[in-house]
């Protein structure tokens, strides 16, 4: 049993002591009200830019870290959005980048001076970003429904392949429909969104961006969890479990599959718009297949249907490769230098970074073999995979 793997390597007395201790800790954690847990979590997260470094002054997380956190945070938002489609409703969507691009171009087309769509000075609408932010949810949902209507009657692998195609079509459209989208050099020069008090969310304002992304994650997670625990979420789960039985119980399966698709698309478009805002540009190259694959992979590795799994998956797949660039990473790996005689660990780390997709692939295979329900499986899936599959 994966639960008791410690019993294999630890002496019995230590193992039992350990399990009572973890059990007690779990109960203690469980007795804390949800609101307080959230509050503490939010406090810890919002103080991240100000943690003082106990060893030798300065901050623990400087701007380099915050830049990584911003990207990881963006992928957490995307992961939570796609998790609605893949984890809750069980629809494998390999073209999620289409919605990401929709959000980015929605903003870029209206805010970039290079945009072929508008010819008025964009400075005349200073609060454009904040007006468009909620709009991106609606536009994303509508695009999700439009793309969903033709493909959602398909099931399983067929759906995966068609959505894969959609993702690529969107990118090719952005490259080739030059007079609408600005073509392959993209749309650039988007002004930083203004903040109250004369401040701006510049790409270099990493602390502000970090706070903004954390808020975004809380928002997406809130939406996802509320939907999961509702009548809509149950309909999704029923469709995932047995589509025919769900229909026989009165669930309009097409409608609820569209709901899942639209919600995923809305959150994806939100992420895309934020991406365009902190890049200050939208370039078709940023919307290739790899984005979709990254998001699906982080969900699968982290644990399908679980928000914490998505967080862990994003940290592993998006955070660690960037971390390997840091001096701290080479310092850390330097400790192992004496253990590895004929190699330079720093060089290794860089090799690992450049070849990270091979590592991802290997990691995916490993996770599928060792923990098929992901690193942090959702409660119900945990039960699903740890009981013998005898029930018909």
């Amino acid at each position: 049993m994966p639960e008791n793997w410690t019993s294999r390597i630890l002496p019995a007395w230590l193992n039992s002591a350990l399990s009572t201790a973890t059990g007690r800790a779990e109960r203690a954690y469980g007795s804390v009200p949800n609101a307080i847990r959230l509050l503490v979590l939010a406090l810890l997260l919002f103080l991240v830019p100000y943690y003082p470094n106990p060893f030798g002054g300065g901050l623990v997380f400087d701007d380099r870290w915050l830049a990584v956190f911003r990207l990881v945070g963006l992928y957490i938002m995307l992961g939570i959005g796609l998790n609605i489609v893949v984890g809750y409703a069980g629809l494998l969507d390999l073209g999620y980048v289409a919605f990401f691009a929709t959000g980015a171009y929605l903003y870029a087309l209206l805010a970039s001076p290079a945009s072929p769509a508008i010819d008025f000075p964009i400075d005349s609408v200073p609060w454009l970003f904040w007006v468009l932010l909620p709009m991106s949810l609606i536009v994303g949902a509508l695009v999700g429904i439009l793309l969903g209507i033709p493909v959602l009657p398909l099931r399983g692998d067929y759906l995966a392949i068609v959505t894969l195609g959609f993702g690529e079509i969107i990118r090719l459209f952005l490259v080739n429909k030059t007079d609408w989208t600005g073509g392959s050099q993209g749309l650039y020069g988007i002004k930083a969104p203004p903040l109250p008090g004369g401040l701006e969310l510049k790409s270099t304002a990493l602390t502000e961006w970090y706070f903004f992304i954390i808020l975004g994650i809380f928002f997406t997670a809130f939406c996802a969890v509320r939907l999961r625990d509702s009548r809509i979420g149950r309909a999704w789960e029923a469709i995932r479990e047995d589509e025919d039985a769900a229909a026989a119980m009165g669930v309009d399966t097409i409608k609820y599959k569209l709901f899942a698709f639209a919600m995923g698309a809305a959150l994806g478009a939100l992420g895309g718009m934020i991406f365009a805002a902190f890049q200050g540009s939208a370039i078709p190259d940023s919307f290739d297949l790899l984005v979709s694959i990254n998001v699906v992979a982080l969900i699968v590795i982290g644990g399908m249907g679980n928000t914490w799994g998505v967080v862990l998956g994003a940290v592993i797949l998006i955070g660690i490769p960037d971390f390997l660039r840091f001096k701290e990473a080479s310092d850390f790996l330097g400790w192992f230098d004496p253990l590895v005689p004929f190699a330079d660990t720093h060089e290794w780390a860089q090799e690992l970074r450049t070849n990270r997709f091979i590592v991802f692939g290997a990691l995916l295979v490993l996770v599928m073999v060792l923990r098929p329900s992901g690193l942090i499986p959702s409660k119900r899936r945990k039960i699903e995979f740890s009981t013998p599959t005898e029930a018909a």
């Binding site: 509320r226 939907l227 149950r234 789960e237 479990e241 119980m249 009165g250």
Partner: protein, 312 residues
């Protein structure tokens, strides 16, 4: 009261073919409101196909289905469920990784809606491409109506995410109803168990509770007592009678256990190769030589009747 008003379900000339195999052949059937009707027949006689056509999983190739005077053939399965036809499956098809309570709550899906889905727009009966265009054109005349459903969808999602009081109150009453149904089928205390972890008999009961949660007028049971021992079969018979007597639900059941069929059904229809070969009370059907022939083969049937003749 005339026969037409009395019939809850009426099929006329119902036919379904699968690439040359005639699964249902010109089937006429009337089911009275408040009755318990059995459908029996040898394996492959078309019994389950009959249920699948009734519940909209297949459209019939010919013939009509009327539910309380309304054409329901070629409607979508969820539309038919919404009109009050619910079913269980031959090989139990619960939502295995959801709890017993959640299973019943999915059955309550239609009743727990806080947004009115609106009337079913499809007319029933096979609709050709031209008819569909006409329906769409008809809707185009009312732009407000066209706008209504996306707005309703948006409202449904936004209200759910916001957790408005109306959402919470409908959810609470749905949970209350579901607990009550679990109690009705005798699954009190097991509501938080995963459906897959329930013992076989309880899974059958849970499927029944889930089907009842849709608030059916007509309940289709596909082999409800399959794999049960005589005591469990007896309990299932009592439960089916209770469903009719206490909830006023009309029941059609497919069953191979003759003890159950003859014990609980008021009328029985016998199918063979998709054709109705006999119909009547249990006694009439049991005495019908065509039924004996269908079950035992012509030769044995002749011997049986021969013996009966020599005995008499």
């Amino acid at each position: 009261m005339s026969a037409a008003e009395d019939a809850l379900l009426r099929t006329t000339g119902l036919t379904k073919r699968f690439q040359g195999v005639v699964a249902l052949d010109n089937l006429d059937l009337d089911v009275k409101k408040g009755s318990i009707v059995g459908v029996i027949g040898p394996n492959g006689a078309g019994k389950t196909t009959f249920f699948n056509v009734l519940t909209g999983f297949y459209g019939p190739d010919a013939g009509t289905i009327e539910l309380m005077g309304r054409r329901v053939d070629w409607l979508q399965p969820h539309e038919i469920a919404g009109l009050g036809v619910s079913r269980t499956f031959q090989n139990i098809r619960l939502f295995a990784n959801m709890t017993a309570l959640e299973n019943v709550l999915v059955g309550d899906h239609v009743a727990s809606a806080f947004v009115n889905p609106g009337p079913i727009s499809s007319p029933g009966g096979r609709v050709g491409f031209r008819d569909q265009l006409a329906v769409i054109a008809g809707r185009m005349k009312h732009p407000l109506q066209m706008l209504a459903s996306p707005l309703k969808w948006g409202w449904e999602v936004v209200a759910t995410v916001a957790g408005l009081p109306i959402v919470r109150s409908t959810e609470k009453s749905a949970v209350d109803r579901s607990y009550e149904l679990l109690r009705f089928v005798g699954l009190q205390g097991r509501s938080q168990e995963l459906a897959r972890n329930l013992p076989y008999g309880d899974q059958r009961r849970l499927e029944l509770a889930r089907a009842l949660a849709t608030g059916p007028k007509l309940l289709l049971l596909d082999e409800p007592a399959a794999g049960m021992n005589p005591q469990e079969g007896q309990a299932m018979m009592r439960l089916i009678r209770q469903i009719r007597d206490n909830l006023g639900v009309t029941v059609i059941l497919i069953e191979h256990q003759m003890r159950v069929v003859m014990g609980v059904c008021e009328r029985i229809t016998v199918l063979d190769y998709g054709k109705k070969i006999s119909e009547g009370t249990p006694q009439e059907v049991q005495a019908d030589p065509r039924v004996i022939e269908a079950y035992l083969g012509r030769k044995v049937a002749a011997e049986v009747s021969g013996e009966a003749a020599s005995d008499g």
